[in-house]
Amino acid sequence: MKNLLEHMGIEEGRLHFSWISSAESTKFVKVVSEISEKVKAIGPNQHFVKQEAKVA
């Protein structure tokens, strides 16, 4: 999934996967913070966004 999305033009670093159990709260905080940093660094997402159908 990640590979295909990146193949289509989603920037590397926007999609992340992680195994986190509900008992691993510290890991959850760490991962979420890391991902937030990384994605913020890339900037707002412009792709696969549909505000309203672009039709005639």
């Binding site: 505000q51 309203e52 159908a53 039709v55 005639a56």
Partner: protein, 353 residues
């Protein structure tokens, strides 16, 4: 009816003059084929290629069209479904072939039939002036002469252009056409004698002939129950290619797309070939099998329309479905098969039933 000579050197000048009053549309090259698009400033329509891949029906019947919009947000328009603003300013469709223009006439019968009018289609159609291009080099898949049209057919056109080498002869057919010619500044009247000869030559160049003479008199139920449908429909993959490239197919589906507190009512082309085309709210699907759907399409084009309107078949012989069907289902073959149905085999009386 006036005939006007347009020197090819005057062509672009005329187009530029038209831009003041009309939005221009015409065939534009894309990959190895052409399609009808709006012509950008300085762009001329491509008139030397075979007919477009997709039909010009999208100019009056866009594939996806917003009809109305509504919003739940507080304000003047809260909860009101309003028409979406549209641009119905005059438009000139340049280079449409006689088959496609006739197709517009056939579709017009459906979208303006006395009881009901489709305002979206009619507004675009009425705003358009159709400048047709006669076909001097028909393709091997063209069978317009068998389908009630022809390479120099005038139905649905406001002007008909015939390429004479270094100039066009433009036959002005309607008031709208006259208005367009005046706006373009094309006014040197000419003798239209050359047109008759060209017409005959073009009609003779059509090699594909299809018989349709018995379709009207054949019994609908016999055609419906014929045994050839299984063989014809086997290869069909039920995509929407034939319906989408066909200039006379008019089916659409209306749907609301919702974005939070706003919504847009859109209509999109639909296809009777799609499995869910005829699904009822109960879940029942009267045309759940491929055979039923394929049979319905050909019966509609070649029999139901004939019976309902008595204006010939609902096909103009443009040949697009023949060229694009991924599995080579050929409407010409189907038409011949239907037309030559042997009623004797089905006559209930003779079979002693």
């Amino acid at each position: 009816m006036k005939v006007i000579k347009i020197d090819k050197t005057e062509w672009t000048k005329g187009l530029d003059a038209l831009r003041g009053d009309y939005r221009l549309f015409g065939p534009v090259k894309e990959k190895e084929y052409c399609n009808f698009k709006e012509l950008a400033k300085g762009e001329s329509p491509e008139l030397d290629m075979p007919n477009t891949r997709l039909s010009p029906k999208s100019l009056v019947f866009p594939q996806s069209e917003a009809m109305m919009a509504y919003s739940l947000a507080p304000g003047e328009d809260q909860n009101i479904c309003k028409e979406v603003p549209k641009d119905y300013s005059p438009r000139a469709i340049l280079g449409i072939r006689p088959c496609d223009a006739k197709a517009m006439v056939l579709v017009h019968m459906n979208f303006d039939n006395g009881d009901y009018q489709d305002p979206y289609w009619l507004n675009l159609y009425n705003a358009s002036t159709f400048v047709g291009q006669a076909c001097d080099k028909p393709c091997g898949t063209c069978f317009c002469t068998s389908a009630g049209s022809g390479p120099y057919n005038e139905q649905g056109l406001d002007v008909l252009l015939s390429d004479q080498g270094d100039h066009y002869l433009a036959k002005v057919l309607t008031e709208k056409g006259q208005k367009l010619m005046a706006a373009a500044g094309w006014k040197s009247e000419a003798d239209g004698q050359a047109l008759a000869g060209k017409k005959t030559a073009a009609e003779t160049a059509i090699t594909s002939q299809v018989s349709t003479d018995r379709l009207k008199s054949l019994d609908t139920m016999e055609l419906h129950g014929a045994d050839f449908w299984e063989d014809i429909s086997f290869s069909c993959i039920n995509c929407g290619t034939c319906t989408f490239v066909c200039p006379t197919c008019w089916c659409f589906d209306i749907q609301d797309e919702v974005y939070g507190k706003r919504g847009v009512r859109t209509r999109n082309w639909d296809s009777c070939m799609f499995p869910i085309f005829s699904v009822h709210t109960t879940g029942h699907n009267p045309r759940g099998t491929k055979l039923q759907r394929l049979r319905q399409r050909f019966m509609h084009k070649l029999k139901y329309f004939v019976d309902k309107y008595d204006q010939g078949i609902m096909c103009v012989g443009c040949g697009r479905c023949v060229q694009q069907c991924p599995v080579n289902i050929d409407i010409r073959k189907v038409c011949e098969t239907m037309n030559s149905l042997d009623s004797e085999k089905f006559c209930a009386v003779q079979q002693g039933k």
